[in-house]
């Protein structure tokens, strides 16, 4: 709105954020669960003098560092980059309210990276006790960064009392803070168990291998239980309109919900069967299958959490077009183009069409002409008059979409522009 638009062809900006974020959260949650698993395993192996488990812990730790300090840190920065490009107004709003939360999280991130590098670099060169202490510091810092960031992430869907008070803690400890923390703790444990299977699947046939596999199954199942409890509580605390996007058959996210649920059910089945009933059947295939199922479940949840916010980017406060709810009245009176400073900036030589500017100001954030959520087929064969009536009806909004905003004249211009698109895909 106030900012130039960053357009991502074919998939749209939200998918760009989504891809970066999902990659990041998988690594970040794995860094937490995997970190705990490694330290606990090292402690266990030291106490029982078990070289097999010690080797398992060491191997896991190297990969954890390669993954979390490089790809994890980079995708984390990537989220900052992408949200700043796609949703600058929302990012600015979040930063003003929660910068101290992020600053606290940054300290934990810093400690986490330092501890991770030291932990991996000092196997067998410092005392076991100190090494374990560093491992615990690593896990604590990683988990605490989740404890902090969870407050900001959940805020966007359920800002709670913050809407009235604008107070940090009201936004932070919002209605879905605790359910989400339980769910995410579960995901971290689940990913640790599942990834452990993958590592065990590649280790030589040692008498210690199958007991380890059974032990890891316990981690996955504990994670699944927390996920179920957390999700049930989470969905009870989200706004009704968000629930309507997820649960009714045919709704926007219904299929994603079913996909995630099926993946979780299959993962439970696989873990119980291979981990307890048919342990001898364990192999690398089971590890890979479990990892895919866990990733599908987690990805589905993240997609649901992101998209259930529609049409807002901060629920009840700012629409995904970057327009604040409290601005709508003024913009309907004075015109949306009084705010959309960049809508009139077009490559030299292209004609200045008012309707196109209005389109840029409030539609193009989510709709392309021919690509993702394409507008051209939607308006095919309609004339300006019919479209004006249709857009006027959308002033009240529809599920998942912000209301049409602007003066009567602007809406007419938008209708004329849409009608001029000629209809039908190119």
């Amino acid at each position: 709105m106030d900012y130039p638009l960053f357009l991502v062809p074919h998939i749209g900006g939200n998918w760009l954020i989504g891809v970066t974020a999902i990659l990041h959260v998988i690594i970040a949650h794995f860094a937490i669960g995997g970190g705990l698993l490694i330290v606990v395993t090292e402690q266990f192996a030291a106490r029982r003098d078990d070289p097999f488990r010690m080797e398992f812990a060491r191997k896991q730790s190297v990969l954890l560092v390669l993954l979390s300090t490089v790809l994890g840190a980079l995708t984390g920065v990537g989220i900052w980059f992408t949200i700043g490009l796609v949703h600058p107004a929302a990012t600015a709003a979040l930063i003003h309210s929660f910068v101290w939360g992020w600053a606290i999280e940054w300290v934990f991130f810093f400690v986490e990276i330092a501890a991770a590098l030291l932990y991996v670099g000092t196997w067998n060169t410092i005392s076991r006790q100190t090494h374990l202490r560093i491992g615990w510091i690593y896990f604590a810092a990683a988990y605490l960064s989740l404890v902090v960031i969870n407050g900001i992430v959940t805020f966007m869907l359920t800002p709670g009392r913050w809407i009235e008070t604008r107070a940090f803690w009201d936004g932070f400890f919002n209605p879905t803070y605790w359910p989400s923390l339980i769910l995410r703790t579960g995901i971290a444990l689940m990913l640790a168990g599942v990834y452990g299977w993958l590592v065990a699947g590649r280790m030589n046939d040692d008498p210690g291998r199958l007991p380890l596999v059974r032990h890891l199954s316990g981690w996955t199942l504990a994670g699944i239980v927390l996920c179920v409890v957390g999700f049930a509580w989470w969905q009870a605390n989200i706004p009704g309109e968000a629930r309507d996007l997820i649960f009714p058959a045919g709704s926007l996210l219904h299929r994603t919900f079913l996909t995630g649920l099926s993946a979780l059910a299959l993962l439970t089945l696989l873990t119980v069967t291979i981990g307890y009933l048919a342990l001898r059947g364990f192999g690398l295939t089971a590890g890979i299958a479990a990892l895919i199922l866990a990733a599908v479940f987690f990805g589905s949840y993240e997609r649901i959490r992101e998209a259930a916010r529609k049409p807002y980017v901060i629920h009840g406060y700012m629409y995904s077009s970057g327009i604040r709810v409290d601005e709508v009245e003024r913009l309907n009176r004075d015109g949306i183009l009084t705010k959309a400073r960049w809508a009139g900036v077009a490559p030299a030589g292209s004609p200045a069409v008012k309707g196109e500017q209005v389109f840029r100001a409030q539609c193009q954030m989510c709709h392309s002409l021919n690509g993702y959520l394409a507008i051209r087929p939607l308006v095919a064969g309609q004339d300006a008059e019919g479209l004006t009536a249709f857009l006027d009806a959308l002033r009240g909004g529809r599920p998942g979409m912000p209301p049409i905003i602007g003066t009567e004249e602007e809406v007419k211009a938008l209708a004329a522009y849409l009608a001029s698109l000629g209809g039908g895909p190119k």
Binding site: D2, Y3, P4, L5, F6, T69, V70, L71, A73, L74, G76, V77, G78, W80, F81, G84, L85, P88, A89, T91, A92, A93, I95, H96, S97, V99, W100, G101, W102, A103, I104, W106, V107, F108, F109, F110, V111, I113, A114, A115, L117, L118, T122, T125, I126, S127, T130, I134, I137, A141, R166, F168, R324, K339, R341, W342, V345, A346, P347, A348
Partner: protein
């Protein structure tokens, strides 16, 4: 003065006084630049030596082995310490920062791809060490890091010059077309080579005192030479940069405004002091105190230049924003919590480093 395309401020007040964010921005950026310098300069120096070396055990390759010892860690901390100034710049300069990144959005995102490629190539080099290290991996990393420096410079220049935005958005002007772009970029690259060169020399000297090796003297001398040449060139580039700054900015730092002028003078003085100290070192192994003196002087130069850079940003943006006038409502309790966590974090990291260092020394 306002321009049409400058986005409106977010209506939420700042959660602490602007000066505090400003202080944190400068401090964390300084720490970031230290790690960044060691990373960028170290990679470039080691790649050049590696490519010019004729055989796997030539001294040039050994320099690569020294550098690879700290590179993965320094890259990690370059990223980690870079997040904090990224956070604080968004608090203070969102109106300038976001449009600048959006105008070159794909290039800005490309930075991440380059960083990923550069980072993993460093690991590829590290694990090719058995064969004497394949310098091509380091060369790729070096190119990636240089490209990242260029992108950072581009976005920085863009956010300082809002009056160019429309021309760039409509294709009337190239985003690169600013006379300060090249000298500013060179300023960063030369600074990185100087800091990394001296860092390599200091490491080699410390190594020599722990475990003497005929190679250490050579490594130290190479590091010193890089530091000296880069600092000498830096003086030339610094004046080039100064003379292409916009008239108003130039006037302010050259006598127009006392504090800005003081920063410029102290920066140049410290730079020259570093140059003199470096040029007096003949035998780095024996002249340990002169080495340490040069290192301290170089770090102080860097700090004063980071302050000057910030002052120059203030001068550029003075017509558009006044930080001290931004509305503020301090979140006292969260701020205190941050400070407590920050101190505890530093203590924790300090304790880990101290304990590991002590136990390792006990083993060797």
């Amino acid at each position: 003065m306002t321009i049409l395309q400058l986005p409106a401020l977010d209506p939420a007040p700042l959660p602490a006084p602007a000066w505090l964010f400003h202080l944190l921005l400068v401090l964390t950026f300084f720490i970031h630049v230290l790690f960044m310098n060691v990373t960028l300069g170290g990679t470039v120096i080691a790649a050049l030596h590696g490519l010019l070396a004729k055989s796997g055990d030539a001294p040039g390759r050994r320099l690569g082995q020294l550098v690879i010892g700290f590179l993965p860690t320094s890259i990690s901390f370059t990223i980690t310490t870079g997040v904090a100034p990224l956070l604080f710049i968004q608090v203070l300069y969102a109106q300038f920062f976001y449009p600048a990144t959006i105008l070159v959005g794909w290039i800005w995102l490309g930075l991440l791809v380059l960083l990923l490629a550069g980072y993993y190539c460093v690991y590829l080099y590290k694990y090719s060490e058995g064969a004497g290290g394949v310098p091509a991996w380091l060369a790729i990393s070096g190119l990636c890091f240089l490209a990242i420096a260029s992108i950072q410079t581009l976005v920085n220049v863009l956010q300082l010059t809002p009056s160019r935005w429309i021309a760039i958005a409509t294709g009337g002007q190239s985003a690169l077309a600013d006379p300060t772009m090249l000298p500013r970029l060179l300023h960063f690259i030369l600074g990185s080579v100087a800091v990394a060169g001296l860092f390599i020399a200091v490491l080699a000297v410390e190594k020599e005192h722990r475990r003497p090796d005929s190679l250490n003297r050579w490594l130290a001398q190479q590091g010193m030479r890089w530091a000296l040449i880069a600092t000498a060139l830096q003086v030339v580039d610094g004046f080039w940069f100064l003379f292409v700054l916009p008239r108003s900015v130039q006037a302010a730092v050259m006598g127009g405004q006392a504090s800005e002028t003081t920063l410029l003078v102290s920066g140049i003085a410290l730079g020259l002091l570093t140059l003199i100290l470096l040029s007096r070192i003949v035998n780095p192994i024996q002249e340990r105190w002169l080495m340490r003196g040069s290192a301290v002087s170089l770090v102080l130069t860097l700090f004063s230049m980071v302050m000057l850079r910030d002052a120059i940003r203030g001068l550029y943006l003075a017509p558009f924003t006044r930080l001290q006038e931004l509305p503020t409502r301090t979140q006292v309790d969260v701020l205190i919590l941050f400070l407590v966590v920050f101190v505890l974090g530093l203590v924790t990291v300090g304790w880990m480093l101290w304990t590991v260092g002590r136990q390792r020394r006990a083993v060797t």
